[in-house]
């Protein structure tokens, strides 16, 4: 068991003869598949032990896919660590104190497995994460007589088997592999009882088995409740799962069977049937009476829950509107005299609300398009001039792209300052290059006539783009001005493919028009 630290988790392999149990087991134990399969076949002749063991593993061991899915889901439920994969070493020291267990929870066939000679260590950590559901009682029957393995070292556990169930319920949540350990302990207990019987000691099986069935059934049913509660008692998706119902039914059947056997021991079968009929009738009557009430209660609960969700949503929206829209409206009323202020405020508010309502979750923040939009918003706030941004494609931000953004910002500032009317910004990013166009409808200006000491256009736009390997061209006419910034990708190949992409008009467009 202590050597099991680095073993791969036990999952059913996709390299399968029947269900992938043997190859999975072989992977897990580090043995050749051949021997595992041979051992399994041989064990089948030992009273069907191999068969039972195989069936049990088939049910209990998840496939690799299932296992991965379960593990992936785990972090979402921080309070469900019971069946996780902690380092195996952690579970080793705890194993001994997990004695208390409901007997007969699972198949005792395991202890008879020839391929796991050290029976004590066989069932602890290795069984990665078996589903909690229905440990097949039926499969045990055939294997019971073969339990002559050295798997009965702890005779003293028998008396602890009756320890209150509640205690072990609490342990379940804290001890890693708690369920597996409980299962193992239960199986051990069965093995002990069987061996003791072989030696001729009289064990009152007549009462033990029904009692065990009741305890097991209750345990299964309560596990269900525990799981449901974990997911928040009323989580419907959980309750609707077929597994939950199967578990409940199995638990119920076990308990009923156990009670029946116990009761029938004291009287004749006829009496038992009568009593059964009577109890079913009583139960039915009670259900009939309580059903409407229960349904109503459930409905109320649902309504209240839906109401609460709506209320939360409403509160969130109200809070947001208060923080943004109402504040802005108040501000607008106070500044009603200044048209520019009102426009600016309305525009900023619109932008904010828009981004809150329509934020494209598919797009990552922190990319070039977001930066361009942020800069445009800044300019819009500063000058009260609408800046419409359209982006196609996106790119990661680099220093060069930051320079592009700064140049674009400068161009937007110029456009907002001198252009008048809406400023149009178009950013297109392809594999080969990134282009930004800033267009306004102002009176335009002559680039040649701009004095050299004016840093705005010459330095902040053209110079900056040149320094970072890009280009900036400015077209200005009486109908408006358009600044075109282009930044080729850093690898030369990219710019080559780009030329193939560019429609011819684009190139011509880059030249001044005057």
């Amino acid at each position: 068991m202590t050597t099991a630290v680095e073993r791969p988790p036990l999952v059913r392999s996709s390299d399968r003869m029947i269900a992938g149990v043997c190859s999975g087991l072989a992977d897990h134990l580090g043995w050749p598949v051949k021997y595992v399969r041979l051992g399994m076949v041989l064990a089948c002749f030992a009273g069907g032990a191999g068969l039972a063991f195989y069936a049990w593993l088939w049910t209990m061991v998840p496939t690799a896919d299932e296992s991965a899915r379960r593990n992936a889901r785990r972090p979402a439920s921080p309070i469900a660590p019971a069946v996780s994969f902690p380092p195996a070493t952690e579970s080793v020291p705890r194993a001994p104190d997990a004695g208390p267990a409901p007997p007969v929870v699972g198949s005792p066939a395991v202890s008879g497995n020839p391929s796991a000679p050290d029976g004590t260590g066989g069932f602890g950590p290795p069984f990665g994460s078996p589903p909690i559901s229905s440990p097949l009682l039926g499969s045990s029957a055939s294997a019971r007589t073969t339990t002559g393995s050295p798997a009965a070292p702890a005779g003293g556990w028998a008396e602890s088997g009756s320890t209150a169930l509640a205690v072990s319920r609490f342990n379940l949540r804290r001890i890693p592999y708690g369920k597996e350990i409980l299962l193992g302990a239960g199986l051990l207990l069965v093995a002990v009882i069987l061996i003791v019987r072989q030696f001729g000691v009289d064990v009152p099986l007549g009462t033990l088995i029904p009692a065990a069935a009741i305890l097991g059934g209750a345990a299964i049913a309560w596990m269900q409740l525990d799981e449901t509660r974990r997911a928040g008692l009323v989580d419907k998706t959980k309750a609707d799962q077929a597994g939950g119902w199967v578990r409940l039914a199995a638990g119920l059947a076990l308990v009923v069977a156990g009670v029946l056997v116990m009761v029938s021991g004291s009287g004749s079968w006829e009496q038992t049937w009568l009593a059964l009929l009577a109890s079913v009738a009583v139960l039915g009557g009670v259900a009939l009476v309580l059903l409407p009430w229960g349904l109503k209660f459930w409905k109320d609960l649902e309504t209240e829950r839906a109401g609460r969700v709506r209320e939360t949503e409403r509160a969130e929206i109200a809070a947001h509107l208060h923080d943004s829209v109402l504040q802005t409206l108040a501000l607008i009323q106070r500044r009603a005299g200044s048209e520019q202020d009102v426009v600016r405020l309305a525009r900023a508010q619109e932008r904010e609300l828009r981004s809150w309502l329509f934020t494209d979750a598919a797009k990552d923040a922190g990319l070039l398009a977001e930066r361009i939009k942020a800069v445009a918003a800044e300019v819009e706030d500063a000058h009260g001039q609408a800046v419409e941004v359209v982006t196609v494609g996106d790119a990661d931000m680099t220093d060069r792209h930051e320079a592009l953004v700064q140049a674009a910002r400068e161009a937007m500032l110029n456009a907002a300052r001198h252009g008048g009317g809406t400023v149009s910004v178009y950013m297109e990013s392809t594999a080969g290059s990134t282009e930004v166009f800033i267009k306004d409808r102002g009176p335009g200006f002559d680039l040649e006539s701009v004095p050299d000491d004016r840093l705005g256009v010459k330095e902040s736009i053209i110079g900056r783009m040149k320094r970072h390997g890009g280009t900036a061209t400015i077209n200005s006419s009486k109908d408006g001005t358009e600044v075109r910034l282009a930044l080729p990708s850093i690898n030369a190949d990219g710019s080559d493919t780009r030329t193939g992409d560019v429609p011819s008009g684009e190139v011509r467009n880059g030249e001044p028009r005057q």
């Binding site: 329509f358 494209d360 419409e388 359209v390 178009y426 297109e428 992409d501 008009g505």
Partner: protein
């Protein structure tokens, strides 16, 4: 105003305004110039379908978000008036320029899309354009088209519906850059009519294409 290519004689375009905000409706009515005649108004999906069927307008100014019906808003109105699509054109109008609104309503059959912040002259021009059977593309819509169809021009081998031709791409780029149709025509040395032809072709592709990227693009934004 760049309606020089349209018919010179004065005529009146019959318009129905569909919007659930009365104030906006009256404001819009005031904004439309003399070339338009508002023959009906509606505030819900059912009202809209009824009014459109009754008045048979040339253009419906249609808000994307409308109460009533099955919750489909403007899309549902277009679907409900499908029989009239040959004679009645829809121009979608919305405060939102979220991709799902724009593309959904265009694919339903609208001839164009403008945001409600558009100027009075702008909306009048757009209505005339749509009445003449052309398409109205805002820069934002052009951006969506470029995003959805990709920015590489079509090969001859490609399905005609699935990609934009080099010329169509140029036109879309210029519109996305804020050019008016007239400016696009001047820039590319083509007539406005040609620009309109290109834009209508793009609109048709946007409406009919089942191109993989377009569906993927739309699915990512939960449009389909």
């Amino acid at each position: 105003m760049n309606n020089s290519s349209h018919s010179g004689e004065p005529r009146s375009v019959r318009v129905v305004i569909v919007d659930d905000h009365t104030i906006f409706r009256s404001g819009l009515k005031a904004d439309l110039d003399h070339r338009m005649d508002v023959v009906g108004e509606a505030g819900t999906v059912e009202e809209a379908i009824a009014v459109i069927a009754e008045t048979r307008p040339e253009v419906v100014l249609l808000d994307v978000h409308l109460p009533g019906g099955l919750g489909g808003g403007g899309r549902e109105v277009i679907a409900g008036s499908a029989a009239l699509l040959g004679t009645t054109s829809f121009l979608a109008l919305s405060v939102s320029d979220a991709a799902e609104d724009v593309v959904a309503v265009i694919r339903a059959g609208a001839r164009g899309y403008v945001t409600k912040t558009i100027s009075g002259a702008g909306i009048s021009d757009a209505v005339i354009r749509v009445a003449d059977g052309d398409a109205v593309f805002s820069p934002r819509l052009a951006g969506f088209v470029l995003d959805a169809f990709g920015t590489a021009p079509a090969d001859i081998a490609d399905d005609e519906l699935d990609r934009l031709s080099a010329r169509e791409l140029e036109v879309m780029r210029l519109i996305a850059r804020g050019y008016s149709y007239k400016e696009v025509a001047k820039e590319l040395f083509i007539s406005i009519k040609t620009v309109e032809t290109h834009v209508s072709a793009v609109l048709r592709k946007l409406q009919l294409s089942s191109r993989h990227e377009l569906t993927k693009w739309a699915a990512e934004r939960r449009l389909l």
